[in-house]
């Protein structure tokens, strides 16, 4: 445990990727494979379920530190991290002779899950008292399931590559599924990660997906496209769907569906299961799961493939999909009301052969055959769009919003299917439409977490409920946002918030409205949960409108005008604000 805590401290202490790589390398080379297995699991984002409820951890800290509840809360607000607050408030103890990370995780921590509160209250402190502060912080973070340190999965992959001498992309592939929430990595799993490549033959007979190939944003004037990326003739163009990016894996008579977060989501979409009967073994398809409008379901197969307009009309807002994702059990009603299909756009494996190194156009041609042979309404092609040049495509792109898509995807015809956000074997661009935007007023602020602890960085924004000429109009909150400002701006806003505070409610301050920001967001839907009746997706600050007085901020009316025609006046969706890709 101490060695892992030291690694955590080293990673936490530096901003240099090379220093982080060196720290991971040192650790992995020095530690036993079973510990390395867990370390890789945690570093690359694996999290077991929360082992002890946060409430109980708070209670324990209160009891031990003998502090009143309010003082604990103030401390927590200042620190912005429960594990760190606990570590700072619990009595300090020297590190006792230490057991390995594996013993700690498997024998001490995981068994805590589900124990009765009084047992936990008795057991936790003696357990944590064996650890010095540094290890305690790590231990508590493992307990709360909030272990995070500034390394990306990609960096872990590179460290494993350095340790094993194997190409990082190969490692990335082996790492897929490694961090599943129920995984219990063993020494053998770790050794498999770093094993020489030739031992891998025949490894591909399970439900493992391939690492997703990710697109880069393309932000340039359309006129410049020819100069930047060449003629549109070299590109396959599709809509950028607003759904869940997924891989469909069919092997050994079984079908697996993986999300881009490498989460296995087969169970969430039972209607896709039928595809297991119609796709041959050794097929992997990359595509987007979207909600499909009911009346089109029956007719879907008869739609002309080039009739992109009709296809897009079949796609429903992401907010609907979110209602399904959130449910633990899928009722017959939900399956009926919110049916999904997968829009296929790439073929990664065919008849058991990895096809990712083939050209995009070749894979696409094969994909079209596969979808045709399968001939099921749940599997559709993501339609190719055609245009004489970029200007022409740009004109078509203007229809994105009304079609419920986010813009276009450009895939180079000779591109291989790469790993992650790479550009070395080919490139995909996402050519998104500009986000919605409104000018909104900051009315509440809350301190941030992590790097922003102690700074007021999380804001609630409001618009007016009536036009300027109404005497008694009010500001109605409609969105929270915390990203988009530079560090300097953040501090400036923080200072204004402190000066204009009206009231404090715990960590939240209400302020005299003075600040106007241009808020951008991706989607908008009706919502009964929000006071404003509106929910927006991915809200973020585009600009601080220092030039605008609050009286010139937008109104609820302006916001409602942005609602898609279909949902206006429709029954309120219970949409949650959140994200897909």
């Amino acid at each position: 445990m101490k060695a892992f805590a030291n690694l955590y401290a080293r990673l936490d202490a530096t901003r240099s990727s090379n220093a982080k790589l060196a720290a991971m390398q040192d650790y992995l080379l020095a530690t036993a494979p079973e510990d390395a297995a867990w370390a890789v699991y945690f570093l690359s984002g694996g999290r077991p379920r929360q082992l002890v409820p946060s409430k109980l951890l708070r209670e324990l800290t209160l009891t031990v530190s003998n502090l009143p509840q309010w003082l604990f809360e103030e401390s927590y607000q200042a620190v912005g991290d429960l594990a760190e607050t606990m570590m700072l408030l619990l009595p300090k103890s020297p590190h006792t002779p230490d057991e390995s990370l594996t013993v700690w995780v498997e024998k001490q921590l995981l068994p805590l899950r589900g124990l009765p509160a009084e047992v936990l209250m008795a057991q936790l402190l003696p357990l944590l008292n064996q650890l010095d502060q540094q290890s305690q912080l790590v231990g508590i973070k493992l307990i709360t399931g909030s272990f995070r340190v500034g390394v990306s999965r990609l960096l872990v992959t590179r460290a494993l590559g350095l340790v094993s001498g194997i190409d990082a992309k190969q490692i990335a592939q082996r790492l897929v599924g490694y961090t599943d929430i129920s995984a219990r990595p063993t020494a053998a799993d770790y050794l498999k990660l770093i094993a020489p490549i030739n031992e891998e033959l025949g490894e591909r007979n399970d439900g493992q997906p391939y690492p997703f190939f990710l697109a880069h944003p393309l932000q340039a004037a359309t006129d410049a496209f020819d100069g930047l990326i060449g003629s549109s003739d070299n590109w396959l163009v599709e809509w950028k769907w607003d759904g869940i990016r997924s891989q469909l894996v069919k092997r050994n008579g079984q079908l697996w569906v993986w999300s881009r977060g490498e989460e296995l989501i087969t169970d969430r979409f039972p209607e896709l299961n039928v595809l297991a009967d119609y796709l041959p073994d050794g097929t992997v398809i990359d595509g987007e799961i979207v909600v499909w409008q009911h009346q089109y379901m029956e007719a879907a197969t008869s739609l002309s493939e080039t009739d992109s307009q009709a296809i897009a009309v079949g796609v429903q807002p992401f907010a609907l999909l979110q209602q399904r994702i959130g449910r633990k059990t899928l009722t017959a009603k939900i399956l009926h009301d919110i049916p999904v299909v997968i829009l296929a756009y790439d073929l990664l494996e065919w008849h058991g052969q990895d096809s990712r190194e083939q050209r995009q156009s070749v894979r696409r041609a094969q994909l079209e055959k596969v979808v045709a042979q399968c001939n099921q309404p749940q599997l559709q092609l993501s339609t190719l769009l055609t245009g004489v040049n970029w200007q022409d495509l740009n004109l078509q792109r203007a229809a994105s919003r009304s079609l419920g898509v986010e813009g276009m995807m450009l895939k180079r015809k000779d591109a291989q299917y790469g790993v992650g956000r790479t550009k070395d074997v080919g490139v995909w661009w996402k050519w998104k439409i500009d986000p919605y935007s409104v000018d909104a007023v900051l009315i509440y602020a809350q301190t941030g977490h992590g790097r922003r602890a102690g700074l007021y960085t999380d804001y609630t924004f409001a618009v007016w409920d009536a036009a300027d000429n109404e005497a008694e109009r009010k500001l109605v909150p409609f969105a929270k946002a915390y990203s988009g400002l530079t560090d300097v701006e953040m501090r400036e806003v923080d200072a204004v918030i402190r000066k204009t505070t009206v009231e404090k409610f715990g960590p939240v301050r209400s302020v005299t409205p003075t600040l106007v920001f241009e808020l951008g967001f991706e989607g908008i839907a009706l919502s009964s949960r929000h006071k404003s009746g509106i929910a927006v997706r991915f809200p973020r600050m585009l600009r601080w409108r220092k030039d605008k007085p609050i009286s010139e901020a937008d109104t609820l009316e302006t916001l409602k005008d942005l609602l898609p025609q279909t949902s206006r006046g429709a029954k309120n969706g219970d949409a949650k604000v959140g994200g897909s890709q």
Binding site: D12, A13, T14, R15, S16, S65, L67, P68, W70, L71, E74, S75, A78, V79, G80, D81, E84, T85, L88, L89, H449, G450, R451, R452, A453, G454, L455, D487, R491, D494, R498
Partner: protein, 357 residues
């Protein structure tokens, strides 16, 4: 009778008709210590502890009208007996004790209870009413003993030096820098200081504080020597072109705020050493309790928290609004270098001893 009240100009003593660390220009100012938010320019008459005279003249002008008192020395002004007592914060820092008609008040200024060896250690002064700071007034702030921190710093420096990387340690130029210098191990390599730090080192040395040999970076021609060095510089130099001369260096920041990971990460340095010149939570509690005061006024820092806590402990506590420091953790991180060396005026010493008697 209230011996100290909060006025727009600063903390004011009505019977004595003088201010303590006022932030607006006044006739008579008692200065607890030389940090910029406590010692401001433009007052007609100053009174401060003798060991802070060098600092005050350096920063406020050599010709300010300054009366200095030895610690413990009493003077009487309009019937108020005033004396200054060590606060352990920086060289010359003082608590102000006021006695009037049998009533005793003590204003702490900034203080630290641990003896750091570079200034007179904090002295507990019994009183009826105590005015305390509260910069680190949350139980999450508990300091390690300074020798442990010095061991960590020297180890960091040694390991960088072994790898031929300069070690840049950001710290406030007055107080923190000298305290750090006193704990560095000069055997590891050269000690380089920024131009804002050295004049204050001189003041400390003149006051008899033993500091290791320091050099300007321009004194060292050999890059290999620079790679073995530790560099003490004010935080305002972070990210400036001045840093370029140190090549691929490792950097750190020494401050009480470094206790929190969030502040450490926001600072954007490799290491954060938790070293403060203010009292930590236990320090504040012991200092307040030791005075025996029944009334406590809380100034700058965690005012709300400390007031509530002290009231729950059975004391009569209230907050004073001041313009010292700032409320949040961000305060220290945002403060500009407090110690731009001031232009030294050439006028003669024109102390009026009359002003304060």
């Amino acid at each position: 009778m209230e011996l100290i009240v909060a006025r727009p100009e600063g903390l004011y003593c009505p019977p004595g008709d003088f201010y303590i660390d006022p932030w607006r220009q006044v006739e008579r100012a008692v200065i607890t210590h030389g940090h910029g938010d406590h010692a401001r320019t433009g007052h007609a008459h100053y009174l401060a502890a003798a060991p802070s005279e060098g600092i005050l003249r350096k920063r406020l002008g050599a010709n300010i009208d300054l009366l200095s008192l030895e610690y413990g020395q009493k003077i009487n002004h309009h019937g108020v007996t005033l004396s200054l007592h060590p606060a352990g914060h920086v060289l010359g820092s003082a608590q102000v004790r006021l006695e009037y008609k049998g009533e005793v008040w003590v204003a702490s200024g900034d203080y630290k209870v641990e003896d750091d060896g570079t200034c007179a250690p904090f002295e507990s002064v019994p009183c009826h009413t105590f005015i305390t700071e509260s910069t680190f007034g949350l139980p999450i702030y508990q300091w390690q003993p300074q020798n442990e921190i010095f061991a960590d710093i020297n180890q960091w420096w040694q390991s960088n030096a072994d790898n031929n990387r300069a070690s840049v340690l950001f710290c406030y130029a007055f107080g923190k820098a000298q305290r750090l210098l006193s704990g560095l191990n000069p055997d590891i390599g050269p000690i380089i200081v920024h131009g804002a730090v050295e004049p204050l080192n001189r003041v400390y040395r003149e006051a008899g504080v033993n500091l290791p040999h320091t050099q300007y970076v321009s004194d060292i021609q050999d890059m290999a020597q620079i790679r073995k060095s530790i560099v003490l510089a004010p935080p305002s130099t972070q990210g400036t072109s001045w840093m370029k001369r140190f090549g691929d260096y490792s950097d750190a920041f020494a401050s009480g705020w470094m206790q929190l990971r969030g502040a450490r990460r926001r600072r954007g340095v490799d290491r954060g050493f938790v070293m403060s010149d203010h009292a930590d939570w236990p320090g504040l509690q012991t200092a307040i309790m030791a005075t025996g005061a029944e009334r406590v006024f809380v100034t700058h820092g965690q005012v709300h928290t400390m007031v509530r806590w002290l009231n729950e402990q059975g004391l009569d506590a209230q907050g004073f609004n001041t313009e010292y420091g700032e409320e949040a953790a961000e305060a220290e991180a945002n403060l500009p270098s407090q110690t731009e060396p001031s232009i030294e005026a050439k006028s003669t010493d024109m102390n009026s001893l009359k002003a304060f008697d």
